[in-house]
């Protein structure tokens, strides 16, 4: 059986991951400086979440790359490049977290919906990123519409992931109750 401390740790991991994803829902790249702070907070939340994970994960390296990108962007970096690179690095981070989630799911013998959702997440985000590479070569109206479509898609997949995290937390909590009363 999984001991209580481990469960608490997993709960905290999920909590911080939820916070990070929740922060990602708000797209603020209209205001450059607020955007940097938001991105920094997201990475901090990811790191905090990762600190509750005992095994090995590549997410740490990806978060590091993301931070480097953030600094490079503050110094001098084209906005489109930053958008594309940061979205793909965030995708890599979330894929790593997806592996952790799948592991947690396995421990509780739940239906494996995580792998499927993560796969869809990957596909949609990759499509959005590919379309965003064209941002620098098109007119204003097309640029804004591409950005809005991409943002809406990313928000939708993030929301879906948030619901998944919520159900995971709920089921872990329910097993804890069983342990406590038994």
């Amino acid at each position: 059986m999984i001991d209580l401390a481990e469960k608490h740790r997993q709960l905290k991991l999920l909590k911080w991951l939820t916070i990070a994803l929740f922060l990602k829902l708000v797209f603020l790249f209209v205001y450059p400086y607020v955007f940097y702070v938001q991105q920094l907070l997201i990475y901090l939340a990811f790191m905090k979440s990762l600190s509750y994970f005992k095994g090995k994960s590549l997410a740490k390296h990806f978060i590091f790359i993301g931070l480097i990108l953030l600094i490079a962007n503050i110094v001098s970096f084209p906005m489109t490049w930053y958008l594309v690179l940061s979205v793909s690095v965030d995708l890599l981070i979330i894929l790593e977290f997806g592996k952790i989630l799948v592991e947690i799911e396995k421990q509780y013998n739940m239906l494996d919906s995580t792998a499927k959702i993560i796969k869809q997440y990957m596909r949609i985000v990759l499509c959005v990123t590919a379309s965003w590479t064209f941002l620098m070569n098109i007119k204003y109206f097309e640029m804004v519409s591409l950005l809005i479509i991409g943002v809406v898609l990313i928000v939708i997949v993030n929301l879906r992931l948030l619901f998944l995290l919520y159900s995971l937390r709920k089921s872990i909590k329910s097993t804890m109750r069983v342990v406590m009363y038994s």
């Binding site: 790249f29 209209v30 205001y31 450059p32 090995k56 590549l58 390296h61 990806f62 590091f64 790359i65 480097i68 990108l69 490079a72 001098s76 970096f77 084209p78 906005m79 489109t80 490049w81 594309v84 690179l85 793909s88 890599l92 894929l95 990957m122 990759l126 990123t129 590919a130 590479t133 064209f134 620098m136 070569n137 098109i138 007119k139 204003y140 804004v144 950005l147």
Partner: protein, 365 residues
């Protein structure tokens, strides 16, 4: 099932052996994955460095306008494309290596594809950047009996160029540009003020100036006119302005009609008997405006039929045509005879066609 689990739990594995197997698994996992963050970091660093180098290179060209050779060599599209293609090959190589090392095939192919797209788009973007803003030549005649004279000069800047024209400078005269709102272009989604036309990579913006008679006269006399950006860079401008010198203007203007294709037809009803023998188009406009036809009583005359006699009370339609040229025109043309001239004012803004505008500028240099 539970029994089987219990049995499994009961099987004694020597603890040292168990530990070692765990270590082995850990090591194997590490070995298969440790390369990836490194390669990714290298790829991102190379890409970032390459792009920063390119943009810095572009910046330098902007400052060193005097050395034409450098400008040409640095802004030549071949350079951008060769760097981009090199980086693309690197990306494909890295993606291939990633696949060989066992990362998810689809993911690495997709990532490589996105990087390739990004590099290709960037090269295309850099290829289409202007080394420095250019101004659209302006031909303008002013009504001579006005008190103040306003005119608009269009200029083309790169979209990421946040500078704007602050004033116009001639010898020791400066005319401040007038804007109606915030001119600076901030952030990715902001649309700057004063943009009249938009291409994929450039904005056409306008600067409006107002001067009195003396100021306009100094403008007419001077040969070199500069638009000065807010950071101090001077853009040479081709201005051909003049007051309209009308000795004898015939009356009878009724109406005017123009089409988007650049035709301009003006209707007159003659107030006296006149003979027309010449078409008046200023020399500077020879290439951009041409006389098409003149209709008297539904009979069409062309330039070959001149001179033409028109009687009092007859309705005359005169058509001129704009050829597509890269300059702004607000000028007076017309047809004239010994008794006077029928004036026709032609207004047209240059289409957003950078090669055409460049060609026009070179003609005046």
């Amino acid at each position: 099932m539970n029994d089987f689990k219990k049995q499994l739990d009961q099987i004694d594995i020597p603890k040292s052996l168990h530990k070692r197997s765990l270590q082995g698994i850990e090591q194997a996992q590490q070995k298969s994955k440790r390369w990836m963050p490194k390669i990714l970091t290298v790829a991102v660093t190379i890409a970032a460095g390459g792009f920063i180098a390119l943009s810095v290179g572009e910046h330098n060209t902007r400052q060193q306008q005097s050395s034409g050779l450098l400008v040409e060599s640095l802004s030549s599209p071949i350079l951008y494309w060769s760097i981009a293609i090199f980086l693309m090959i690197m990306t494909i190589f890295i993606a291939k290596m990633a696949i060989r090392k066992g990362i998810d095939n689809k993911l690495s192919i997709a990532m490589g594809f996105i990087m390739t797209l990004l590099l290709g788009n960037s090269a295309f973007y850099l290829q289409n950047q202007l080394p420095r803003p250019i101004t659209v030549p302006l031909v303008q005649d002013f009504y001579s009996n006005n008190e103040t004279y306003g005119f608009t000069i269009h200029y083309i800047t790169n979209k990421n160029d946040q500078r704007f024209v602050k004033h116009l400078q001639v010898d020791n005269l400066t005319l401040l540009a007038r804007y109606y709102g915030e001119v600076e272009n901030k952030g990715i989604l902001n649309f700057p003020e004063g943009v009249t036309n938009e291409g994929s990579h450039q904005f056409m913006r306008e600067a409006y100036f107002v001067g009195n008679k003396e100021e306009i006269q100094t403008l007419i006399k001077s040969k070199e006119v500069f638009l000065v950006l807010d950071d101090g860079e001077k853009l040479p401008t081709t201005l051909q302005i003049n007051f309209d010198h009308s000795d004898k203007e015939l009356k009878g203007f009724v109406g005017t009609s123009g089409s988007f294709a650049g035709d301009e037809t003006v209707t007159f009803v003659m107030t006296q008997d006149v003979v027309f023998d010449t078409v008046n188009i200023p020399e500077k406009l020879n290439r951009s405006i041409s006389f098409t036809e003149m209709k008297v009583n539904e009979i069409v005359y062309t330039e070959k039929d001149f001179p033409i006699a028109v009687k009092k009370g007859q309705r005359v339609l005169i058509s001129f045509k704009f050829n597509d040229s890269g300059m702004d025109v607000h000028a007076k043309v017309g047809i004239s005879g010994p008794d006077g001239m029928l004036p026709i004012w032609m207004h047209r803004e240059a289409s957003f066609n950078i090669p055409k505008i460049r060609e026009e500028i070179e003609k005046y240099d």
